[in-house]
């Protein structure tokens, strides 16, 4: 029998036994819905982790040391590392206030960085410019301020409202949304700084950094050496975060040992730096994503088995109620293979209906669940996997009964009433 005939025969039978077919389709659908939902969420999480890895760059190592590094030390380290590596130094965070005209702005942290800060996990749109090497070498008094996107209802507030602001201290996050600080003079401590750049942060749903790479305070960036100059006035202990990005996954271990021996040569042989490999972080995230969904997958498997047993039951019932029909078909020339294929086709059609219904249910629950997070993904591989799972289940559970049907002897089947 040819495929179109197999399909139309199968379809006719399904229509003739609507209730029975519906029940097994429904069981399959529940399983598929669970899989579809779980795989969609999983694929979304893996995609997020992949994006985080992309913006982090390959071969990233982070380490914190309890000493500031000089520019000379920076160059020593960079030259020792594999070619193509980038080294970024980041000071501690310091809280302070900025004076702008006669306003005091607060609610931010001051961090000293190098221009290489932009080489990894940098998600901002720059208005103006970022800190450059001239600023570092000449200790220019420049600052770069992060600006968060306006929230919708705030946009309607008239700017005049803020010019008549009388409060003593205004949050920088609020203020910078309304007043463009670019190229303005601000006072940090007693020194006048020029705001040379604004960093526009992406909206939260477009921020692809890992949660631990996001900053939770508004940041104002200064040239790395300048930060020490203004902070040394009131503190003695300093630490620095060193970030190395080699650009390749293959030479991370090599870079790590270079980094460790460099740090020991500078800060003593007993120094035990705690290196943090971004690869490990990603691996941890991947594992967590998978662990969180293991139970769901398990439930999906249970539901699929229930669906499969439904299909098996239907196919068994079909064979009992259609023994006579099998006999007639055999008499008219159907081979064992024809009978086998006919019942398997029927089961696959049920499975396909189950897959479609299941994906519809899964999709609706995704939409429903995504309302909170604003995130929704739909991946074609999940659709393909869901259909495949449904068809495979139907196939394997229909195999035994269909095989039994194929084994029936034509005479015996014909005599059956």
């Amino acid at each position: 029998m040819k495929l179109p005939d197999l399909i139309s025969t199968g379809w006719t039978e399904i229509r003739l036994h609507k209730m029975r077919s519906f029940l097994s389709v429904f069981a399959i659908a529940i399983g598929v819905a669970t899989f579809f939902y779980t795989l969609s969420v999983l694929s979304q999480r893996y995609r997020d982790i992949g994006r985080a890895a992309d913006i982090a760059g390959k071969g990233r190592i982070d380490v914190k040391v309890d000493y500031p590094l000089s520019l000379q030390q920076y160059h020593m380290l960079l030259n020792a590392l594999p070619k193509g590596s980038s080294v970024s130094l980041e000071t501690d965070a310091e809280t302070d206030t900025i004076s702008y005209k006669n306003k005091k702005l607060a609610g931010f942290i001051l961090i000293g960085v190098l221009p290489t800060f932009q080489d990894s996990t940098f998600v901002y749109d720059i208005e103006g410019r970022f800190i450059n090497w001239k600023d570092i070498e000449n200790k220019h008094l420049v600052a770069v301020v992060t600006v968060y996107p306006r929230e919708k209802d705030e946009e309607r507030v008239h700017p005049l409202y803020f010019s008549s602001e009388t409060a003593d201290i205004i949050l920088l996050s609020d203020f910078s949304k309304r007043v463009n600080l670019l190229n303005q003079q601000v006072m940090i401590g007693t020194l006048p700084f020029t705001v040379v750049g604004l960093l526009h942060a992406p909206p939260i749903e477009k921020d692809y950094r890992l949660p631990e790479d996001r900053e939770y305070f508004l940041e104002v960036y200064l040239p790395y050496p300048v930060w020490y100059d203004i902070s040394s006035l009131w503190r003695q202990d300093f630490s620095t975060r060193i970030r190395v990005v080699t650009g390749k996954d293959s030479n991370v271990r090599q870079a790590a040992s270079i980094l460790v021996s460099f740090l020991r040569s500078q800060f003593g042989a007993e120094f035990k730096p705690q290196l943090k490999f971004f690869q490990d972080t990603l691996r941890r995230y991947n594992r967590e994503a998978w662990h969180g969904l293991k139970t769901m997958i398990f439930m999906g498997i249970v539901a699929m088995i229930a669906g499969g047993i439904g299909i098996m039951n239907v196919t068994m019932a079909i064979i009992f109620s259609r023994t006579k029909e099998i006999g007639i078909r055999r008499a008219l020339g159907a081979s064992r293979r024809d009978i086998l294929f006919q019942f398997i086709t029927e089961a696959l059609l049920l499975g396909l209906c189950g897959a479609i219904l299941g994906m519809a249910i899964g999709y609706i629950s995704l939409l429903y669940m995504a309302e909170g997070t604003g995130q929704m993904t739909f991946s074609w591989w999940v659709v393909a996997a869901s259909i495949l799972i449904a068809l495979t289940t139907s196939f394997f559970f229909a195999l035994y009964p269909a095989y039994q049907a194929a084994l029936l002897k034509p005479v015996n089947a014909l005599k059956y009433e």
């Binding site: 029998m1 040819k2 006719t12 007639i328 078909r329 055999r330 008219l332 020339g333 159907a334």
Partner: protein
């Protein structure tokens, strides 16, 4: 020789190992119309099922169109069924949910006939047996005589050279019975070999030769 049987034995694996066929030898030539008569339970259907490759003898040889059938694989036997043999049953054995047209087309679904030629041929056959106006009816909407005519058309679907009919008139009134006999005689004149089991001596009269059976033997 369309059919040649040598010493066919069929033993059913019941408690008493029942011999339904006991040393049956039979030859049917091309173009013959043979009827088989005998009391109920004498093994007529058993013989016909073996001739139709629906069942296998316990012992003995059966040659269909000169070829031995003993060691044929299922696919070959199935192919021989749609290619060479047309069945007509006492209880019609039509598919209750399929239309007249689809019922007639069914054996062609298992043949190698190109897909688009199937329904035109089925329609032709329906017209030939006088049911051209009932193509979309299901068997439940037809009389017994009409059902058996559909079964005849279905038996002709793949142009077999042998028709096996097991009491084709057993469920029909005399008028319908004569109609079926007339149809079978007509087919026979066109060259199809026919073996028919019947209880009706008048129907048997319409055939070339009658074989009598008793207790699994040919008399």
């Amino acid at each position: 020789m369309v059919i040649r049987c040598e010493h066919l034995v069929k033993i059913y694996q019941t408690a008493d190992a029942f011999r339904a066929l006991d040393d049956v030898s039979l030859e049917v030539k091309k173009g013959e119309f043979v009827s088989i008569m005998g009391p109920s339970g004498c093994g007529k259907s058993t013989l016909l099922n073996i001739l139709g490759l629906l069942d296998e003898p316990t012992n003995g040889e059966y040659f269909l169109n000169g070829a031995p059938t003993a060691h044929m694989k299922d696919s070959k036997r199935s192919q021989a069924r749609w290619k060479n043999i047309g069945f007509i049953f006492q209880s019609f054995n039509l598919m209750p949910h399929l239309s007249v047209l689809e019922n007639i087309a069914l054996p062609m679904r298992y043949s190698n006939l190109p897909h688009k030629e199937i329904l035109p041929r089925a329609r032709e056959l329906a017209i030939r047996i006088g049911l051209g106006d009932k193509l979309t009816n299901t068997p439940l909407q037809l009389s017994g005589g009409q059902c058996q005519r559909v079964a005849c058309a279905r038996a002709l679907a793949n142009r077999p050279n042998l028709i096996l009919a097991d009491e084709p008139t057993g469920n029909l009134d005399s008028k319908a019975s004569t109609d079926i006999l007339t149809l079978l005689q007509e087919l026979n004149r066109e060259g199809i070999t026919i073996v028919m089991v019947t209880h009706d001596p008048q129907i048997a009269q319409g055939t070339h030769r009658t074989i009598y059976m008793k207790d699994g033997k040919i008399l």
